[in-house]
């Protein structure tokens, strides 16, 4: 049963990333079916859905991990075809996965520049410009709201929110136009969740980055997202702008479209 959604408010700008009728099948299992999605610069687009709705498949397809079976991805209006995560990263898609891809035993700077060290010389034995890297890492994290006292601090000693910020700052610094955040607030305490949301807000306020926020948390989505897309069983079951959606709609769509009221009634018996 398709959910009725109100008309989205039209935006004048071209979306940074447009996903058009994307499909992905694994053997005879359809993970994504005709999924479409527009993300505009300076906006937070929340991607919501229950477990197994296809959120992970969608972001992995956007990140170049999976090749789609159908449909197209446009970046700045041009069709792109990712063969590897590196292609996606070069096209400006930065993914911050749940495990954050950080090395807890290494320092902030070393994590920030991991795999993309600034160095003088050629090849793996080129000399790292540590001081410059320290300064950039500190500045970049400060620009989205986390002031670290010591770039030589090991990441393992930082809070979950700080780690999240590090991963976000890193993705932005290395040229992400589209920032995909995979459940950034899960597994964090209340205060840290708020820290991360503030960070996301600051990134949004830069105005040059489009953010896709994957989350389970309706409250967080409502607090920060400008636009919502709901996935269920591999299909988009609803989407809309924040101004056009009611809290009830969101809750209902998040649960995959099932009427919570019905469930409540069932449980009450």
């Amino acid at each position: 049963m398709a959910a009725k959604t109100k008309t989205t408010t039209t935006t004048t700008t071209e979306p940074v990333i447009r996903v058009s009728n994307l499909s992905k099948r694994f053997g005879n299992f359809t993970a994504l079916n005709n999924v479409s999605l527009d993300v505009h610069v300076g906006e937070v687009h929340a991607l919501l859905g229950d477990n197994g709705a296809g959120k992970s498949t969608l972001i992995k397809t956007l990140a170049g991990v999976h090749a789609p079976n159908g449909g197209q991805i446009f970046i700045d209006g041009e069709v792109v075809n990712f063969k590897s995560p590196r292609d996606a990263s070069e096209a400006g898609i930065g993914v911050v996965y749940q495990d954050l891809a950080i090395n807890p035993l290494a320092t902030v700077t070393r994590n920030f520049f991991l795999g993309r060290e600034m160095a003088v010389g050629l090849g793996p034995f080129s000399w790292m410009k540590m001081r410059q890297m320290d300064r950039i890492a500190t500045e970049q994290m400060a620009s989205i709201g986390i002031h670290i006292s010591d770039p030589e601090q090991t990441v393992g000693t930082m809070s979950g929110g700080q780690k999240q910020t590090l991963a976000i700052a890193r993705a932005i610094y290395f040229g992400a136009k589209v920032l995909i955040l995979d459940e950034p607030t899960s597994a964090l305490g209340q205060i840290q969740q708020m820290e991360v949301l503030k960070t996301i807000r600051r990134v949004q306020q830069r105005g040059d980055i489009a953010i896709i926020l994957i989350t389970h948390n309706e409250i967080h989505a409502r607090l920060i997202a400008d636009r919502f897309t709901f996935l269920s069983l591999g299909e988009v079951i609803g989407s809309g702008h924040r101004d056009d959606m009611e809290s009830g709609d969101i809750r209902r769509l998040m649960a995959g479209g099932a009427e919570l009221a019905d469930l409540a009634a069932e449980l009450a018996v």
């Binding site: 070393r110 795999g115 986390i146």
Partner: protein
Amino acid sequence: MARSEADRRRKVGYGESLLRRPEIGAFIVMIVVLVSLGWASGGWQNNLNFLDSTAFSPLGVRNNTRIVAQLGIIAIGAFMLMVAGEFDLSIGSMIGFAGMSLALLLKWGLHITIPFTDIVLVDLDVVPPSLAFLLTLGMTLAFGWLIGNIVVRSGLPSFIVTLAFLFFLRGLTEVCYRFLNRAPGDRSGSTQVSDLPDFKNLIDLERFRSIISYPAEQAIGAAKGCLSVFERPLNNSLAKLDNVKDNIANLATTSKMSPEQLARIKELAPATTSKEELAAKIAEVCKVDPNTISLEMERVDAQKLSADDLLAIFSQIPAGRAESLRNMLEADATRTAERLSNIKGNTVTPASINDIDVAKEFFMTLPTKNPVADLFGGNILEWLANWTNVIGWNITERTGAQWIDGLYAVVGWWIFVALVAWFVMQRTKAGNWIYSTGGNLQAAKANGVPTDGVKISLFMTTAACATIFAATQVFDTNSADAAKGNLKELEAIATAVVGGAILTGGFGSIWGVVFGAIIFGLAQNALFYIPWLDGAYYRMFLGSILLAAALMNESIRKRFTGGI
């Protein structure tokens, strides 16, 4: 201003940050070992000055630093690999293999024929030390590459893969000795080589060819002992007495024998049964005409030339050079005599310096013919040893002469390897990749670090460290043995753990490994200085320190990762 998360991290001062460094434990243990070894070996009786002891006498330092450096080199390889989250148990066997390869190449040369045919691919009677080292390094690097590839491609734990190579390489080493290190008549070869020339001290006397005479009675001795280019083909011709004809022919080309001499030797050779006998025959037939052989001689042997030859050579030394050598020797003699007078309490007259002494000293200053052998097996810091002697240290009590000439070259290699490793680990991209490969493999991969390449190159690095170890040993002692390097892999890993390496990877410091090598090297050598100590105590000590270090590393790791 509101409090932020960052405020919860207490700022620490310089002193405290030093105390919190991961290598501090190893440093403290090292100091304790240094001081107690000094005390136990004589320092206790000498006003508690631990440096005034047999363990830290010049000779003690020379011997200690050698053991420390040998362990240190392989420990650094093992450490870097452990930081990347892998293990290498094949280091010890790799040392044995590399030593075997070097010694056999140097002793027998390199002869490769395609099996079941007569097609000769390579036929080198004499393999110079530089080529022997490069060929050996090529083979060990290939094994390191193979081990690394098996580990990253199969996903098997490196423990199992390298354990397999521990057995395989040791077996291969022994098989090679049995198969290749034998004369034709022997059923199987010896598992050791002990009669290599002293390559690092070979000097070229070609320029004195016309003035050195060979009295008949010295001919055999000269042929046997001093002419290594003569000696090595002899080994080969003995190895293949069946086709001695070809080898004698080879010898003839290098030594410009006359056809008559060659024919005579061919006649005599089949009846010879030992190297010495064949040498004697050749010397006899050729009358050891200096023009037939290249004059390459060990320094010590060169000093044993006849007085006439030495005087002839003296006359060839430029006057200024001879004068400065004489002045130096006279200054040494005066200083030695003064010191001896002080020790003995009566006046000792300085030994007089004659032309022969100058000629002998002259040989000491001639450059080696094999700089590569000297680089691995010679001495380093000779200027420092000389200087310490001049300022009144480094003196033997008995004769008043200089005690040691320098430190073993292996010490220089250790310092070199440690510095390179430190730069790579701390300052280069590669270092960041190594730490992240062990710290969080998935994260490193996600960020584009070539983790497989990192691991493979580190397996090759441990192989290279093992080869350096073997080369310093072979060129120092001029011998090799199938059992060399046994159990060294475990000592290397223990040292790396003392250096702060954790078994899951991603952590540790080169300084810690340097301290660890000093701790274990000194402890291992302590029994030479402390009479009542035996080897069992060393192993108890090693075990306890290893356990303590592992426990401490774990707590440091928890501190750095916030207790995960």
